[in-house]
Amino acid sequence: MAVAPETMPLDAERIKLDFPILQRPAHGDKRLVYLDSANSSQKPRQVIDTLSDVYETTYANVHRGVYELGVAVTERFEGARDKVAGFLNAPSRREVIFVRQATEGLNLVAYAYGRKFIGPGDAIVTTEMEHHSNLVPWQFLAQKTGATLHYLRLTDAGELDPDSLERLGDVANVKLVAVTEASNSLGTLNDIPALARWAHDRGAVIVVDGAQAAPHRPVDVQRLGCDFYAISGHKMCGPGSGALWGRTELLDQMDPFLTGGEMIRTVDLERTTWNELPWKFEAGTPAIAECIGLGAAVDYLQAVGLERIAAHERALTEYGHSLLAEIPGVSQYGPEPSRRGGVLSFNVDGVHPHDVAQVLDQDGICVRAGHHCTQPVMRRYGVAATTRASVYLYNTPADLDALAAGIHRVQRTFGV
């Protein structure tokens, strides 16, 4: 019998009060149970207020104005960059590039690094568990450059198969390794320092998709030993925003990604010289308020404590896993709950995931159903789709009790 933890690392009932949307009911009178944070997280009052405050008190364009507002907004914008740099433990703020989301950060590397330094006869290594945003850019890069693309495979337990890494040992000219720190569809946590050593032993760079890790656990790009690290603000209590961290020596060698305003130093009719880091990679007016909002999200998460958030989610995941394991006809995917992030990916025998999610919605429970932008993972486990519940700092054991009760209702509705 699954037993709810007596004490949790976080007082999530109190944290919920910071999130206005979590106070509203679902379908008029149901308690809203939000279990889709791996898709996008909700926003605390502190972030929402920051967005309003920027527009109400400090808005103008950045890096332009000689007037008071322009100076003030630039200070807040660049201050947000300092916060993100601190959040990632980046050695330098110059290495933090604001992007729209992790997807854009990964594409930036694929274009600005990949198109310049990867060519025919070279090899790119990624994994079968990647979100499409860390798979398609490399597949496209391989097609465009004539490089070959190789995959680390998944074990039945949902982890990267060390044998497949062994088999890739003989691949020549590996120039780039792209891997996620945490799987969005299985929750798997990858050993980035080990993969970074493997890449660097071959003279390759390693690009890490941090979209599913950075919101949920402390990140230290120096400890990870990676070369690039991409995050999405909207998954970490922030607005639509993101950042790419990259090592200075690589960013310096790369060509720009997008060209236009801001990323230039001098322009004449024949040629242009690039701005210094990080602005060389920030063409055009950025999403100013959103980037400042991302800084506010970093403040919020750090005040709660990333270690405590990770511990809280681990307790929730273990409890949720044990609840689902008690329901006959429910199959779960992914590693042991102690070895993964806050993701519960499952199927209910005899019911399509969309129907599962739809019936859960009737109880005010928000989960995702589908392939989670990881079609190769779905094929690996022989399913078209799964239902995924994902937890964050504002979730409680009661939210998972509601999920389990909802699944029983699904089974009753469909008579399975």
């Binding site: 379908h27 019911v351 399509h352 995931p353 969309h354 129907d355 739809q358 019936v359 919605d361 009737q362 159903a369 589908g370 392939h371 079609q375 779905m378 399913v383 078209a384 789709a385 509705t413 469909f414 008579g415």
Partner: protein, 141 residues
Amino acid sequence: MDDLYRENILDHYRNPRNSGHLDHPTVSAEGVNPLCGDELAVELLVTDGVVEDVRFNGRGCAISQAAASMISDAVKGRTVADVARISREEVLDELGIPLTPIRLKCALLSIGVIKVALAELNGEGIPAEWAADNEITWKSA
């Protein structure tokens, strides 16, 4: 939302009408929606311009499977020209349940494969209104 899985939808889902294969189909077509993994194939027996028999097979959510079952009863015995005139709205009226935009695709997959099969029968390409749906892959034979 509570009546989405009302009893007649669940009945069609659990006991689909005209499910399986025909011995000698005149024409067939299939549609795949990778977004949710719905796969649906239709086989039609057409004699003298009349849809004499129909079979659906595939897998997918309750909405797509129930819609296929309901539409299969509705097209049997009707002329090809008549079936070709069935609109999306008629199918949705027949289902009679409120659907969000994502679930509309589930509900309309079955009429889509029928339209694709009939276009094949008439030696035409995939009808423009269905070809425009770039999320679904259609095949006909």
